[in-house]
Amino acid sequence: MVNEQTPTHHQAEADDRALFGFWIYLMTDLLMFSVLFAVYAVLHDNTDGGKTGKELFDLNLALTGTIILLVSSFTCGVGMIAARAGRKNQVLTWFGLTFILGLSFLALEFNEFSILIREGHTIQSNAFLSSFFALVGTHGLHIIAGLLWIAVTLGYIVKRGLNSNMVRKLAMLSLFWHFLDIVWIFIFTIVYLRAFV
């Protein structure tokens, strides 16, 4: 019974260490994205006579995706407050909402990619499109990973309830989700907005 009641500050210390480790992961992931951004910045003019970003992208669609992701970042944050207050149903609602928003963002991106590929603008067309698909696609893969993570975590919470271990996992999840939002802001600025300047 003594072991069951872990002193609070030990638990908090373990949480901090875990979150710090996760923070280091996020920073290395950010470095990977920065390399993809550098490649895009260097190659975005090399269209090999093909269409440029301005002719290929739909800025309104990109803006819609950006706002969806922003709202999902917000719902995720509110869900995190509910988690720290121990309100299980609110956690399920807010993170469920985050999941749905993330899924709609992914649907938009999938739609954009499939239209481009159907019209013959694939990753093999030219250096510009290679770097575009590599950058935006990597972000999309992160979103898929995030969605799976949300689904699994919510499944655990439904089954086993909201304990302090789960709160720590949700804290990492929300860090990851906010991080993806920040990366997307730069994709929106450098890839989409930049193409229409």
Partner: protein, 230 residues
């Protein structure tokens, strides 16, 4: 057995942020998304000013989200998180800034014809065979030479320095324009030959004064000349 899932509410709420901080972050992010979008849609500034403006808004938004969503600097051990964050930002600046800087510089170290083309397009400096011919600040007039039925019209073109000359190929096959009287091949404007596909056209800037002849490499009877005066 007692349920051990009782959550520890001993932690001060401040370090994790409150609903109001999320709302503030969300609203600011939304504003920082809409403003650059509006500026780009309406082309408010010149190109380079617009690019630096939208990137500034992107960075401002990143700072907003790092402060209001990630709560960087508000945790119990903010020091190492911040150190790691700024170390990463430093590396990113080196990676992206360095790549762009180096790759841009590379444009000036290409093969001579590519380099002179780049110089001519980006900086209006015209260079032929290592000899500067002076910069054409703006193009004055355009002259057209049409290739059809095995001959060029007009055969002779009078032009002034910094005019342009366009070859239009209306023949049924590709035309490779080379400079100089047949069989000599010289260069003009940094170009040793111009490949004009059928139905297409190519334009050169007349930045070298004097009299020049040209002919089709595949059919030397297709020939003409142009005089460039200062």
């Amino acid at each position: 057995m007692k349920d051990s899932s009782a959550n520890d509410s001993k932690k001060p709420i401040k370090e994790h942020g409150t609903t109001s901080s999320y709302v503030a972050g969300f609203v600011l992010s939304l504003i920082f998304t809409i403003i650059p979008y509006y500026l780009v849609i309406n082309h408010k500034f010149s190109t380079s000013a617009l690019i630096s403006t939208i990137i500034s808004f992107g960075i401002a938004q990143m700072i907003v989200q790092v402060v209001f969503f990630l709560h960087l600097g508000r945790g119990p051990k903010p020091f190492y998180n911040i150190v790691f964050f700024f170390a990463t930002v430093g590396l990113i600046v080196v990676v992206i800034g360095g790549s762009v800087f180096i790759m841009n510089n590379l444009h000036y170290n290409m093969t001579p014809s590519e380099a002179s083309k780049h110089l001519a397009e980006k900086e209006a400096i015209y260079q032929v065979e290592g000899t500067l011919t002076g910069a054409c600040q703006k193009i004055l007039a355009n002259h057209v030479v049409t290739i059809s039925g095995g001959k060029v019209t007009p055969h002779h073109t009078d032009a002034r320095l910094c005019d342009t000359l366009t070859f239009i190929n209306q023949d049924s096959r590709v035309s490779i324009i080379t400079f100089g009287p047949h069989p000599r091949h010289e260069t003009y404007s940094g170009e040793s030959e111009l490949t004009v596909k059928k139905g297409k056209n190519k334009t050169i800037t007349l930045n070298q004064s004097g009299m020049y002849q040209y002919h089709d490499h595949l059919d030397p009877t297709i020939a003409g000349d142009f005089i460039v005066t200062k």
